[in-house]
Assembly symmetry: C2
Homo-oligomer: 332 residues x 2
């Protein structure tokens, strides 16, 4: 609103946003630094994103590049409840990169998905996530799928493959899905924070401290909010134990610098939060394992989905080879 319409001294001195700097970063592109009062946010993650980029998202020539958040706000959100060390502990891996694959395509019945999970497990994979397209569809409803996959993985080796089902629907539906998962002995789930809303994501995290949350970037966009900020900093701050994102050189257009910044934001020492596991993905293949491990180091989870599944009847062998690639890699 026009500042001329404001006559309240507290609002003028404390609440109105302040432009602190305008600097030309490139030809016609300006870096603008704006100060906002933390009182405008309170402790609501939805209101945080509303203040940071709500109406500004409607300007097609403005991107949200980064935010410096007050330490006490970050700590009040709490960050990962588990993070890298717990995901390694569950996999029986002390220092190496973790491995992950995905159940897909959607349209398969639960029994077929469970059979794929069993083969991934036989190949020695650490984690098996649902493709984010798997929701509560009639051809493999959440409850049926989770029961089938959990049954298929029972009796595998100690520290064997763990299943990460994808939640969908409204907050109540997701709560019911978590209850189904934990009832089947599964204690990790995947959610898409930008589909469900950041406040609802944080609500689930707070209400289920024993559950590992993997965040998926669906609807997180490419360029309007910097991926390092949204997926690295904000998803982590709100409790993501791991963040899936499109690695450079795959099906998506993130640059190596974007990926590096995102991984740094997810696992650096900021605010004393636990490190969140970067999960580079999106069209990865076995031949890229050495390059990816050199690029990110060992503090990641490496996700290869479709290109393992393309091995079809050789899925166990291909998975084993992927797992061996990661376990035996000698870092440069």
């Amino acid at each position: 609103m026009p500042v001329s319409a404001i006559d309240d001294a507290f609002v003028l001195s404390r609440i109105v946003g302040r432009v602190e700097e305008i600097a030309e970063a490139a030809n016609g592109l300006f870096r603008v630094r704006i100060a906002l009062a933390p009182e405008t946010v309170g402790t609501d993650p939805g209101q945080l994103i509303n203040m940071l980029f709500g109406n500004t998202s409607i300007h097609d020539d403005v991107a949200l590049h980064d935010v410096e958040l007050p330490d006490d706000l970050v700590k009040s959100f709490g960050g990962p409840r588990h993070g890298l060390h717990e995901l390694r502990r569950r996999a029986g891996a002390s220092v190496r990169a973790l491995t992950c694959s995905a159940l897909k395509p959607q349209g398969l019945p639960a029994a077929k998905l469970a059979e794929l999970a069993r083969q991934f497990a036989d190949g020695g994979i650490d984690y098996i996530k649902d493709d984010h397209g798997l929701a509560d569809q009639a051809y493999a409803p959440f409850a049926t799928r989770v029961e089938a996959v959990a049954a298929a993985l029972r009796g595998t080796a100690p520290n064997g493959a763990a299943y990460i089902p994808s939640l969908s629907g409204d907050l109540d539906a997701m709560r019911a899905q978590i209850a189904i998962a934990t009832g089947a002995g599964i204690d990790a789930v995947m959610v898409a924070p930008m589909v469900m809303g950041l406040a609802n994501f944080h609500r689930l995290v707070c209400d289920h401290p024993g559950v590992v949350f993997v965040a998926h970037p669906a609807m997180a966009g490419a360029a309007r909010i910097a991926p390092a900020l949204l997926i690295g900093t904000l998803f982590r701050m709100l409790g993501a134990d791991a963040v899936v994102f499109p690695n450079h050189g795959g099906r998506f257009g993130y640059s190596p610098e974007t990926c590096s910044d995102l991984a740094d934001a997810a696992r650096d020492g900021r605010n004393g939060l636990r490190p969140c596991v970067p999960v580079p993905a999106g069209g990865m293949t076995r031949d890229r394992v050495p390059e990816i491990l050199d690029f990110y180091g060992a503090d990641i989870m490496l996700l290869i989905g479709g290109s393992l599944l393309a091995a079809r009847e050789r899925l166990v062998e291909e998975t084993s080879a992927f797992v061996a690639d990661v376990k035996n890699y000698r870092y440069a």
Copy 2:
């Protein structure tokens, strides 16, 4: 995933998306038509947006232009429970455009916001919405604000000004806020579907059939999903009785064509849904009233916020003049 990795006949014949057309629309810009199976969505609005644009949102050179939705899917979501006719009925207006203003700035205490509401009401406005920046902040908590505004509006004329408070937080917090509002005699609320998540928006609509829902475009973006589709078609389908959007020529960059398409999508006869009220806003002023009414016709709600508030001690008179502008306008 690679189609070569799929060996299931049902998935190949029924679930895999099909590229139906690729046509160059402009130099280097292509219009691509893709068919998706409704089974992939089920009845979950979150999964709908996930299928339409979840991962695709991460491609910075792809926009979601439009979607043809199956009639039975649209009808199952249900559209506006009230819409244009009910919003007119509540205001005692038979055919004219409706008027609206906004309580702001945030940072004011509840008593000052209530005083502004009283002045808007004295000026004869139909609807008074919260600015979408008003959440549950310490300086005017939701419950305190709603009670104060409701009290200020009690005893005004029949069909007098109605208050539309803005909901925030997670789904549970919003439910509690609706209970507070209805307890104070208020039966209309505003939400930001892209902040709270489409599935949670639809959940609230279904659970509160007596409440009018006004949808705000915060986080709805400018260009990645066509505004007519997201704000006009999808928000309406999920139950928005009115949709706020940035009018052309104000603070935002929507073109006249975008605004016209959006208004058409909100109120046309598609699928037998009730018409949803377009609410053009974003830096509007009294001098633009004739132009706006000629552009959209009378089936809108005209929102002028900051430029009325800039009248300060003349707020009642300025509001009366705005209301008279709208009531007395003779359409070209």
